[in-house]
């Protein structure tokens, strides 16, 4: 089947799954917001206005319309920070997952395809990494590297690699035994040809599903690092970091400072989970829960 038709068919099947479609819609909207924050945000996300600290938003009356979702403890527009934060959070999630997918593909294909001692060693390393709760491993890596957005991407990318490597490996183990691989080998095809032309294309479905679902996890973990003050450095607008000062805001009665950034995180994660679940049902029915 030509590729175009395949993509179209996938999309048509996805269209039947309402939940996945809602997820796709949420993600598309978020991507658009992330692409054009400058034209969507009503205010400068970084500019402080100490005279306007912790002011409520539109619900308090028309005179507060300048900051629709209120201001934070430094008098910055919360809506604008959420809009700019969309770019940060999606980017962190995306890049972290790209890192883990590339590493996971390399490790998983090698250990699944070649097997032997390399497989044993790699899988033991994976076991060791599984001995850490994911956020603890991320915090540990951040403790060594120091805070910062780029480092958070690397840390989360590393944290998600073992699971991806396992997903790839188990797919490759099945593909390796297929008759068409044996046929290729009998024809004298090189390992690299078999891997690039036959193993990888057939292993891609579970990788896409797992990558989508782990983007949701990566966004949550990035927000957690930001919340702990280990991710994005101030004044970069990032959803998790926006929540880190909000305990004080809460006790001061400014509920909006703690509420809206969390809703933004939840929407993004919800969208990715819906889309991921839908794609799993579509591409890899065996994984269905």
């Amino acid at each position: 089947m030509p590729k175009k038709a395949q993509i179209l068919e996938t999309f048509l099947a996805l269209k039947k799954n309402k939940a996945a479609l809602v997820g796709l819609l949420i993600i598309v909207v978020m991507v658009v917001v992330a692409c054009f924050p400058q034209s969507l945000a009503p205010n400068d996300p970084i500019k402080r206005n100490l005279a306007q600290r912790l002011k409520p938003g539109f619900w308090a009356g028309r005179e507060f319309a300048q900051y629709p979702l209120g201001t934070d403890y430094l008098g910055r527009c919360i809506l604008s920070r959420i809009i700019w934060g969309t770019r940060t959070s999606l980017l962190v999630g995306f890049i972290a997952v790209v890192i883990s997918t590339v590493l996971g593909l390399i490790l998983g294909v090698f250990s699944g395809y070649f097997g032997g001692w390399m497989d044993t060693i790699l899988m033991r390393v994976v076991d060791v990494m599984f001995a850490f709760p994911s956020i603890l491993l991320a915090i540990t890596i951040m403790a060594a590297l120091g805070p910062g957005l780029e480092k958070a991407m690397i840390a989360i990318g590393i944290v998600y690699t073992p699971q991806m490597a396992r997903v790839v490996r188990s797919a490759v183990l099945v593909i390796r035994e297929m008759d068409y691989i044996e046929a290729e080998r009998a024809l004298g095809a090189s390992h690299s040809r078999i891997i690039w032309h036959h193993v990888l294309p057939n292993a891609i479905a579970p990788v896409i599903v797992y990558a989508t679902l782990s983007t949701a996890g990566a966004i949550l973990d990035a927000a957690a690092l930001g919340f702990l003050g280990l991710g994005a450095l101030p004044p970069t607008p990032e959803w998790g970091a926006m929540l880190s000062g909000s305990r004080q805001a809460l006790t001061a009665g400014a509920w909006w400072a703690a509420t809206f950034p969390g809703i933004a995180i939840m929407c993004a994660v919800l969208g990715l989970n819906l889309l991921g679940d839908g794609m799993r049902d579509l591409l890899d029915p065996r994984l269905r829960m």
């Binding site: 076991d127 001995a131 709760p133 603890l136 915090i139 540990t140 957690a224 995180i265 994660v269």
Partner: protein, 334 residues
Amino acid sequence: MKRYLVKRLLLIIPVLLGVSMIVFFLVRLAPGDPAKVLAGEHASPEFIQAVREKWGLDKPLYVQYFIWLRSVLRGDLGVSIATHTPVLQELLTRFPATLELSIVAMFIAILVGVTAGIISAVRQYSIFDYLSMTGALFGISMPVFWLGLMLMLIFGLRFDLLPISGRLSPEVTLRTVTGLHLLDALLTWNGRAFLDALAHLVLPGVALGTIPAALIARMTRSSMLEVIRQDFIRTERAKGLPEKTVIYKHALRNALIPIITVIGMEFGLLLGGAILTETVFAWPGLGRYTVDAVYARDYPAIQGAVLFIALTFVLVNLFTDLLYASINPRIRYR
């Protein structure tokens, strides 16, 4: 079973060695002289020299690792830079707080998750099913620290029903026996402290238990649905067994295996979530200790805490695996 047990116990040794290596190299990855990293930025030159000698930091790396490993095995995790007390001692005083919180959270998660899952499966496509599965979807999409903040906002600040930080109110006294406040209050017959400790546990417990509850509910539902559709259940219904016996005695028992696996896996999530929940609720446990240590660049404390949490996690996983194997004999012979 004995052979499986031995095999499983032997398998955790390489994992623990790997964990110790990661924790050891953590300090080497940190920028700067490892002696200064371990002694703290403001340490005197004499103290830095003492640290260097104690951990053999002028020797080759593998020698350093074995020196470190030997003292770790003896229970010496070094001295905290921030408080100058032995790290192991600090970890042990904080561990009961995390344990108590995790147990309460897990209790809430299992109670809510399994109940909701069973009802959803039995009444598939009912309003309850729809609502609880939507709730579960939101549950797994929420950041745990944000949920904590929201609970704090609604129940702690808006309605002032429950305390929002710490484990006990300052005016309440409690003699420490085990470090688990609820248990200590029972042992010392201290009703006031029991209620106070319980009230302090509600919000962090609910915050920490929600995500596992959502996952358990989803797993229970799908596992129950799979079992309910099988022939033996149809036979039992045809025999005229009461629906309650069919569901709780036969269906649930068969659906339990994947549910237990998920519960075991959630414990890791719980330990991770505890790091964030404890930060939100100022809960004096291991998680908050780890985060404070990271802020203070207190590397001996970070090393100790990470090692301790990872060890707990490995042991919990081992325990789940054994439980799983004792329920499902097929696993043992793989």
